[in-house]
Symmetry: C2
Subunit: 182 residues, 2 copies
């Protein structure tokens, strides 16, 4: 399991041994249940109980704006802002040749099919501002632009509450470059 | 001295006692010299040996673009990016009522005189993206806009190399809001 090394594994195993039969049964049942009930949304590949995830099945969300993220955890982070009212598309990772992940391993085809079908006006590329995330954003934007929709990238710059003095050079350079009229 | 508590002070004092007479004389002389030779630039209030700082006396820098920063350390951070080719204006802090710092304690009047005199086309507000920094930027922009120049603010967003998942809600919200066409 990710993040569980030999010491943590031993601690967890000993905890299971010490726990009551009832608790262990409940944990096992919960694991069964999550595997049975939770799958991926047919539209955006978010987690879903049923065919569609809570975002895609909410009629209040704007289906003409799609925000492309790498993973479900990024979608959750954007949902916590409570500012975004569009829908999502989870790629399932980012292009990373060193890890053997190419465009064909991501849900890019599904994205192209979806935006062609659903009359999407804007695609927001919200992959991480890392080398791999930028490469993925560039690749996807290259495929989307010929389709005639607005393609945008989330802003890079200084984190709110941060100090200029502690920002790295590349981030400061981007913050300068991306300056906006007041 | 800032950042020197009782323990550090004792360590430094004992170091001075242990050092040779010559080393102590040199340190004292260096402190005298820095106080004598280094003052503030007449134009931008950066550190300067003489009337003008290295930036203001460099004919290769664009004098029609002025980047407003809080402190000299912020100017140094922006210089490290090696991307900015304009000049600076050091305010000497930011508006902070809780600390008793008002607009009259900053070099705002000097900024207004300067931009009126020197034919400045753009003022970039590069105060920190903190509450005080934002308030200062808003205050200064309110004074500058009637003068008819372009007033811009550095971008807030995700730091380069960062992870969406680890960004706070406000920063993520700003990154979304400040998205740009690819």
């Amino acid at each position: 399991m990710p993040g569980v090394g030999p010491k943590s594994a031993q601690r967890l195993a000993l905890h299971i041994l010490r726990a009551t039969q009832e608790d262990v049964d409940r944990l096992a049942a919960a694991m069964h249940e999550v595997k049975e009930k939770v799958s991926f949304c047919r539209t955006c590949f978010n987690l879903a109980e049923g065919m569609l995830c809570p975002v895609c099945s909410d009629p209040g969300r704007d289906a003409t704006v799609v925000c492309v993220v790498e993973e479900v955890k990024d979608l959750a982070a954007l949902e916590r802002t409570a500012e975004y009212k569009g829908q999502y598309h989870v790629l399932g990772g980012c292009i990373s040749p060193l890890d053997g992940v190419g465009p064909e391993d991501l849900r890019v085809r599904e994205l192209l099919e979806r935006v062609g079908r659903d009359g999407v006006h804007e695609v927001i590329l919200a992959t991480s501002p890392t080398v791999e995330g930028e490469a993925t954003a560039m690749y996807v934007s290259g495929l989307l632009r010929p389709l005639g929709m607005r393609v945008t990238r989330i802003a890079s710059g200084l984190p709110v509450g941060g100090d200029l003095d502690y920002a790295d050079e590349v981030t400061l350079g981007r913050a300068l470059e991306g300056r906006r009229e007041v």
